[in-house]
Symmetry: C2
Subunit: 141 residues, 2 copies
Amino acid sequence: MESFYATRTDEMLRAHGLSRTQGRIALLKLLASQKAPVSSAFLLRKLGTSWDETTLYRALNTFVTYGILAQFDFGHGHAHYEIAHDKPHHHHAVCESCGHIEDIPAHDSPQLTASALKAARGFKRFTRHSLEFYGLCTKCT
Amino acid sequence: MESFYATRTDEMLRAHGLSRTQGRIALLKLLASQKAPVSSAFLLRKLGTSWDETTLYRALNTFVTYGILAQFDFGHGHAHYEIAHDKPHHHHAVCESCGHIEDIPAHDSPQLTASALKAARGFKRFTRHSLEFYGLCTKCT
DNA sequence: GTAATATTTGCAAGTAACTTGCGTTTATTA
DNA sequence: TAATAAACGCAAGTTACTTGCAAATATTAC
Ligand SMILES: [Mn+2]
Ligand SMILES: [Mn+2]
Ligand SMILES: [Zn+2]
Ligand SMILES: [Zn+2]
């Protein structure tokens, strides 16, 4: 019987008609096991030296395009990625000293977007938003 | 009598003991006249060809370090900058088609940060947050 | 105002994070 | 199982930004 991650990752690829290669499946499994967004350098380290950097970037970009992954920028000079497929909307906390990142379940009231929309003259609706909190984590305080 | 921008920009530099060079003053005046964050390419274009790219980046970095400027990333592959000195906290709306950026006066309740902090296990306080709304502007709809 | 000192600037070279081209391999479809 | 389409791996390229260092400019001390 297949593992939880195996079936889920398989489904992510199948849902968009993407080839289910060994590499892509391993990458999605690794991403699915993370608690917060990770960098391409982290992924490359975990996947092992056999992995090619270009292939990784190409897979990540494809997955972002199809909405399987979400991509974030926390001002570290490189992107972070996390599974978006079937994951509820949420925000992030980022430590400005050690770079530690934590998921925060979304506590948005619909008012948050509504009142922003009222204030934004040139916009009639928003499709998404991103909210990041910065500070020092307990280890770095 | 000096203009509004001239005295304000002068004060920004003076407050941090930074040299008030012609270039820096021109840069801050230009930034002070913008309604939303702008890219380094935009600044370079507006300042004219006489300006050196390295000097611009160095000035921008210095100003960000001292809190005179705030730096943002909207996923365009380059940073955006705006005056932070004496400017109240606010958020941004970004058009995913044309890149148009708009300031949104902050409508945060203190609860926004409070409830995020409660949910973030590894953090005792946040020093700042950034909230961006993405969608299509009225021109692009 | 002028000289001494500290800061900033401009140019050339360098770096990090990606991207592109193209021939080979692997997966999907018939 | 063969034909077709997609993904991979390597080398080379691009972009946004950084660093080193000598020359120019600004600040401070007299
Ligand atoms: Mn997350
Ligand atoms: Mn702004
Ligand atoms: Zn930390
Ligand atoms: Zn637009």
